[in-house]
């Protein structure tokens, strides 16, 4: 009986050693990983300087419609009457008729300010993040329209599906305290 008990104790000791060993492996791994412990979360954002407007933001996001939407850096905008982000290249007339617009969902509002200037605002609930207006504005205009991850919509997935599909690798992680990469401020 005494021998039996001693054996049990020895086994107990061994198990505790194993437990402590595994525990310290986990602790070491985490410690080594967090060599630089960061406070605060990291969130996804799209670097507009790298973006090539391939259209994957619209289709790859786990959300439908996507968390990426078009935004407008007004200070860069030329307030053009013929806006390349607004009108199709073959638009028959420069008016707000749907057939003249690039935007498939009509998410850009065009407002007359004064001759010859018009102001363009994004109606975010309608925007799908396809980037058609962004591409055209970047190619022919001032490039004041650009795509951004909207942080009120983004679920901040551990891995962003758009980031993995992005051919330009334009997705980066930024601090939650300054979660936008605004083109007019870069």
């Amino acid at each position: 009986m005494a021998g039996n008990e001693r054996q049990t104790t020895r086994r107990n000791l061994l198990s505790w050693l194993f437990r402590a060993g595994t525990g310290s492996v986990i602790a070491t791994l985490v410690y080594r990983a967090s060599g630089v412990i960061r406070g605060g979360r990291q969130v996804w954002q799209l670097d507009p300087r790298k973006c090539i407007q391939c259209g994957k933001c619209e289709t790859e996001c786990v959300l439908q419609p996507s968390a990426v939407k078009c935004t407008h850096g007004y200070v860069m905008c030329g307030y053009c009457k013929l806006c390349f982000g607004y009108f199709k290249p073959d638009a028959s007339r420069l008016d707000e008729a749907a057939e003249n617009q690039i935007c498939p969902t009509g998410a850009i509002n065009r407002k007359f300010i004064e001759t010859p200037y018009f102001e363009y605002t994004i109606n975010e609930p309608l925007c799908t993040g396809c980037g058609l207006c962004v591409k055209s504005c970047a190619n022919f205009g001032n490039g004041s329209l650009y795509l951004q991850v909207r942080q009120d919509r983004c679920k901040n997935c551990n891995t962003c599906r758009i980031a993995e599909a992005c051919p330009a690798q334009a997705f980066v992680r930024v601090s939650e305290h300054s979660p936008y990469l605004l083109k007019e401020k870069l």
């Binding site: 198990s15 437990r19 595994t22 525990g23 986990i26 791994l29 985490v30 080594r32 990983a33 967090s34 060599g35 630089v36 412990i37 960061r38 406070g39 605060g40 979360r41 990291q42 969130v43 790298k50 090539i52 391939c54 994957k56 786990v62 959300l63 439908q64 935004t71 850096g73 007004y74 200070v75 860069m76 030329g78 307030y79 053009c80 300010i113 004064e114 200037y117 102001e119 970047a138 205009g141 001032n142 490039g143 951004q148 909207r150 942080q151 009120d152 679920k155 997935c157 551990n158 891995t159 980031a163 993995e164 051919p167 330009a168 690798q169 939650e176 979660p179 605004l182 007019e184 401020k185």
Partner: protein, 416 residues
């Protein structure tokens, strides 16, 4: 003058952007608006997030080990499913944090402490109390648990083979991630779309298919896919207070065997004697001979086949692939080429980079293959256990502490 100053500062702001058209000066005094950028909408702070996980693990431990009630475990798991799944919406979860921790440990760059805690806490609980996390806290497990309707017994041999899948996902998923191709393990989470009630169709269908399969094969993702289960099983093996079917003396009535959905009840057996011992010893010797072959075999397969296969998902390799298959006429179909050109990448540079990356994937896969072979060998050795067992016991590896065996055990009923 004021206007000119404003224009100057404006010019400074936009100096680096394309300015084909000058910014207007409004006579009507129109003020250029500022676009609104909504701040991050986090439901709870990082502190709260970790505190809630710790709290959930604590409560689940208490329910599994003290209250010992299937009903309460189920109720709490639904609560956790609601919070960690449908409200907090999945990310990040301990399964995915394997990759964050591995990347940070391998490449540096730091790790948010909340992610580190999500990785370590369930494992530490497993070392002490078994797979508590699987029992009630993990939303993926809780969701599948609700769909267990007619769980079928999986034949031992099938089970042994299928149980290699989580190992493959873990080892090769890490090779994929550490070499910069992305977070594969997260991509293969079938339920994230259901938790967010919004996803591309294939993801939603995959989630539903797994749940339907779960009606006959209990918790298929947990048992035959989840890479975190490999780590949890290892920790649970060492559990200080593992799950016990009954706290009394087992009367070997076998009722628990019938209700266990994951075939995790081990039945009593005699220690092998005489002739069986000899057979087992021969098998042991044979395994010792086979083990190095397994290691070398899988390692070679990793180098030859799996490495290049995984490397194909790396963005640089993808771009090179696009360049190889495209002609100047079809180049526009491949956005990756446009992006590479915009970033000033030359074709030669890209080729060299891609070759290097494939080489890295080969090395990584060879190591992962070797480890895979080694673990198979160790598992086979584990089959020939020599210790006698007199009671029905919960298998420390496979038991997910769901508590279904508690209410059927006559000994537990007696005491209730």
């Amino acid at each position: 003058m004021k206007g000119a100053g404003w224009m100057l500062s404006l010019f400074a702001l936009t100096a680096r952007a394309e300015s084909r058209f000058p910014q207007p000066q409004f006579d009507s005094g129109h003020v250029v608006p500022q676009a609104f950028h909504p701040p991050v909408m986090a439901i709870v702070s990082e502190w709260m997030d970790v505190a809630l996980l710790l709290f959930a693990l604590g409560v689940a431990t208490w329910l599994v080990h003290r209250v010992r009630s299937r009903r309460w475990i189920l109720a709490f798991s639904i609560l956790c499913l609601a919070w960690f799944g449908f409200i907090r919406q999945g990310c990040f979860c301990p399964i995915g944090t394997i990759q964050n921790v591995a990347v940070a440990a391998w490449q540096g760059g730091g790790l948010a402490w909340g992610i580190a805690a999500f990785f370590a806490l369930p494992l530490l609980f497993a070392i002490l109390f078994g797979r508590i996390f699987c029992a009630a806290v993990c939303p993926l497990g809780a969701l599948q648990d609700l769909f267990i309707i007619r769980p079928q017994r999986i034949p031992r041999a099938w089970n042994a083979v299928l149980r290699l899948a989580p190992l493959i996902v873990l080892l090769f998923g890490l090779v994929y991630t550490l070499n910069g191709a992305g977070y594969l393990i997260c991509r293969m989470d079938p339920f994230v779309g259901l938790f967010r009630r919004s996803a591309p169709l294939p993801l939603l269908l995959a989630g539903m298919a797994v749940l339907l399969l779960g009606m006959v094969v209990a918790r298929p993702y947990c048992r035959y896919f989840c890479p975190y289960s490999v780590l949890l099983e290892g920790c649970s093996r060492l559990a200080w207070k593992p799950v016990h079917i009954t706290t009394e003396t087992c009367i070997n009535c076998r009722l628990c065997v019938g209700v266990c959905p994951v075939d995790a009840v081990e039945i009593p057996r005699e220690a092998p004697t005489g002739a069986t011992r000899v057979v087992l010893f021969r098998r042991f010797v044979k395994l010792m001979v086979i083990a190095p072959l397994l290691v070398v075999g899988f390692s070679t397969a990793g180098w030859m086949k799996v490495g290049p296969l995984l490397a194909a998902a790396h963005p640089v390799v993808k771009t090179r692939e696009a360049m190889q298959v495209s002609t100047p006429a079809t180049e526009a179909l491949y956005p990756a080429i446009e992006a590479a050109k915009k970033q000033g990448q030359t074709r030669e540079n890209l080729e060299a980079q891609a070759e290097k990356i494939i080489e890295k994937f080969r090395t990584g896969s060879a190591v992962a293959g070797g480890l895979f072979g080694l673990i198979i060998a160790l598992r086979m050795l584990g089959i020939s256990q020599l210790r006698r067992r007199v009671e029905h016991e919960a298998d420390r590896y496979n038991c997910i502490a769901c508590g279904r065996c508690y209410p059927v055990c006559p000994k537990n009923i007696e005491n209730a």
